[in-house]
């Protein structure tokens, strides 16, 4: 498939936080790629893991499941945060109640500032 319409995940280090920047659409086709990138990041045992969805245009339940699973895997050892700025990501998180379950921030700066 055309990678431009898939998903890319890049990792950035900010002090004790790892930021996974996801770009593209997260649906059942691309969610496994995101899950793998998140697992790799968690494997580095960062104090904080931030999944930045600022550049995600479509977030389906398969992507929500990855976030919930990441939250579970992170446990007490890694603080897990999500950045969701666009309606395309906030809306599915809000209507499934995950904004209450996960630590969701409106900007990356906010997520790094905590």
């Amino acid at each position: 498939m055309n990678p431009a319409r898939g998903v890319i995940a890049d990792v950035e280090q900010h002090d004790d936080a790892l930021v996974l920047v996801v770009v593209g659409d997260i649906d059942a086709l691309t969610a496994p790629e995101v899950a793998k990138a998140v697992d790799d990041a968690l494997g580095k045992q960062p104090a904080v893991l931030i999944v930045d969805l600022s550049n995600v245009d479509f977030l389906a339940s398969a992507g929500l499941a990855v976030l919930v699973e990441t939250h579970r895997k992170a446990g007490d050892s890694t603080r897990f945060r999500v950045v969701a700025t666009r309606p395309s990501t906030r809306r599915p998180l809000e209507i499934t109640g995950l904004t209450d379950e996960l630590a969701v921030f409106a900007s990356r700066d906010d997520a790094l500032a905590v």
Partner: protein, 136 residues
């Protein structure tokens, strides 16, 4: 051009597709549906809600309608009315029983909250999801 490569057929007021339900095909189909709905001229929010709701219905077909290791057909029919847009997603298999935590749980929550009206009809020969969005 690109239009001819697609397996869906559509006009200004409807889109129809029948094909094998795979994780790849429903991603393609959701993009076709998004392209179609954008030509209709609805709000961005409505276009997004419709694309996500319909995608979840189609993803459920891929994940739950047919036994593991097999594939089956998916029918998508979208129709533009004067006041609403209706979309039907139909399969010819059998979904596993509905449960909040089980397969399709979060997807079904999304469908129910995103659409203005939803009917889920489970039968012996398949499942049909009728979704309706008002063109407000």
């Amino acid at each position: 051009m690109r239009r001819r490569e697609r397996r869906s057929t559509w006009s200004a007021t409807w889109l129809h597709h029948r094909g094998v339900a795979t994780v790849e095909s429903v991603t393609r189909l959701r993009r076709e549906l998004s392209d179609w709905i954008q030509t209709v001229g609805v709000s961005r929010n409505l276009a997004y809600d419709l694309a996500l709701g319909c995608y979840e219905a189609m993803a459920n077909v891929v994940a739950h309608a047919y036994p593991t290791g097999t594939t089956g057909f998916l029918d998508l029919h979208a129709r533009l009315g004067k006041d609403d847009i209706t979309v039907t997603v139909r399969d010819h298999g059998q979904w596993k029983p509905e449960s909040g935590q089980g397969p399709g749980g979060r997807g079904l929550v999304l469908i129910r909250r995103l659409a203005d009206g939803v009917d889920l009809l489970r039968g012996e020969h398949g499942t049909r999801v009728d979704m309706r969005w008002l063109r407000h």
